[in-house]
Symmetry: C2
Subunit: 354 residues, 2 copies
């Protein structure tokens, strides 16, 4: 604590990302990265643009990437906002839409950056409990709110909501923004994006970090009605004119246009998820139904924290959250078949001596 | 205006960066980019890291880049903060240090992002006029403040402050943070960085966008006492865990280590500046003394706004700010010798028919 710190930062609890270890080589299943490399077209376009133009500022509007995203989703370019990872996009959305007199609502178990943003920006927030199956029940959300945000599929549970309950929420909740964070939607869910033309308060965020294998380049976006996009642009232009660098812009563009590669890698991850779930169930794990590139699991006999440590010692990193309701669960990213076989093998050893 | 916008963003006047035109090829002297390409070592390291690891998140702490910067300046690694351009670093500093009961002070003519941040973050601010020679007179700054920020050299004037008045300010102003934005310090000024060990309230920001030819990659940093750096980390970790992508981290690192290339390009730009100033004076321009990679000029007879338009039509882009006290000045980036010859040639034509 320093006497020079503003009141604002004195009492913060910053977000803690999953570790990026450097001490040894791990089977890294802790931060929901894609086990497959980016599309070859992405690597090619980065190499092509690695030249003297890096001395020039990027396009502050990120036009080429907005065009690629609007082409992909068949929406207008003024329906697209791009940012330095979807975390930055979410931060701008909190400032632009959720700083209201009424409280923002989100699930009690969800992406742990939501309470961090709320504290940081002085936004009053209230949580709505997931049901006992870790499902979001949108019928539980009162309309007397300053905004609603939830991931779909939810994190860290992986559970998916179908479009019907989301549309029912939008029909009754039209006085505040509903933000659906679809970071993991490409692994088995249906996106809300087709609904943006009907609901002026619907904003959807997605990221290239997961399904497009580009966590290393920090590219996220929001899709929504033009007025909401304009709100995000206003916030961004009061913070940083050029949030996406030249290489990220061309790389993201190439990734959006390589639809085949994207679909193939998503399919591969979903196929791996299916057999891993069966294997884990045979090892006496309960697996929350997942539509994400991770699964949320609990063993019937063995404590999650202990499993986490044992796996770590054996070179397998997963994520453990010491939080109410979920402190006996592990979140496990879906890696390659080989990585998941290694996970299963190590779990078999750990559980056999337990 | 949308009913879904928060009060905060309704009344903002966002920052407007210099244009990045796409309509035709310009001699681009409007955004203080470096006319020389990045170091060959930078391009090489980017190509080397353009591979499958882009699927993985970057190091959230940016360790390699912090090490390179701390090596360069011979400061501790805990004296270094890195961000997505110095604009982002400044934004975090406003939140971490300047959100105070007393007003933040900055010059009346300065980097126009300062009032934007102040409005955006609800920070009370007051301006202190430059003297009639466009000099910052730090003796004019009262100590009853919530922080002091100024660029050195100042923008858009290019005027440099020497270390003595800055140190005199630090000696009498110890209750609030003094932030010196040294975006342009490498073109002829002396940095305050050696003072950070003596003054616990001194923070210095710099950028790789100008003197290291990397505007396209968005890399900035702050150097200061460890407690102030920790304040910035707290703010950043409530906003975005990974602000610098993998390629920016390795590129910035290589740029910091290639000291010869950096010194040579800075020297070349300063040499160009000297002869351009003489040429402009012969064309009846007044040139504010500059220690930056740009000059701030006024013609004795011809209006700046008119010159700006005429130059633009003739393919030369400079910057014009329609603001009190400086609305008859042009800010002109120092380009290559060839680009500056073209500027002079076009000015000769414009002025001859005027």
């Amino acid at each position: 604590m320093s006497k020079y710190w503003s009141e604002l930062i004195r009492w913060l609890a910053p977000y803690v990302p999953g570790e990026q270890p450097k001490d040894r080589k791990y089977v890294k299943l802790n931060t929901n990265e894609n086990p497959y490399p980016p599309s070859p077209a992405v690597l090619e376009v980065i190499r092509k643009h690695t030249g003297q133009d890096l001395r020039l500022y990027p396009d502050p509007n990120g036009d080429i990437l907005k065009t690629a995203i609007s082409d992909y989703f068949q929406v207008g370019k003024d329906n697209v906002f791009v940012g330095n990872g979807s975390d930055e996009v979410l931060a701008f959305a909190f400032l632009a839409f959720f700083k209201q007199a009424k409280p923002l609502l989100y699930p009690d178990i969800t992406y742990s950056f939501f309470p961090v943003y709320s504290n940081f920006f002085g936004i009053e927030a209230a949580t709505v409990p997931l049901n006992s199956d870790f499902q979001i029940d949108l019928a539980d959300y009162p309309t007397d709110n300053g905004g609603i945000i939830f991931p779909n599929p939810n994190a860290p549970t992986g559970r998916l909501l179908h479009l019907e309950p989301i549309e029912a929420l939008l029909q009754r909740n039209n006085a505040s923004v509903v933000l659906v964070d679809e970071a993991y939607i490409d692994f088995g869910g249906a996106s809300c994006i087709p609904l943006i033309n009907q609901y002026p308060n619907l904003l959807v965020t997605q990221t290239l970090s997961k399904s497009r294998s580009l966590a290393g380049l920090r590219i996220g976006y929001a899709i929504g009605p033009a007025e909401l996009i304009e709100g995000l642009e206003r916030a961004k232009n009061c913070f940083n004119s050029y949030t996406l660098d030249r290489l990220a812009l061309v790389a993201g563009t190439a990734a959006m246009y390589d639809r085949d590669y994207f679909e193939n890698t998503c399919r591969a991850i979903m196929a791996t998820r299916e057999w891993v779930v069966r294997e884990l169930e045979q090892l006496d794990f309960e697996v929350v139904p997942s539509a994400a590139n991770f699964i949320f699991i609990r063993h019937r006999n063995c404590q999650a924290e202990e499993l986490f440590s044992e796996l770590r010692q054996r070179g397998v990193l997963v994520r453990y959250f010491k939080l109410p309701r979920i402190d006996n669960y592990l979140r496990v990213t879906i890696g390659t078949d080989g990585e998941m076989q290694e996970l299963i093998r190590q779990l078999q050893v750990i559980l056999s001596v337990h």
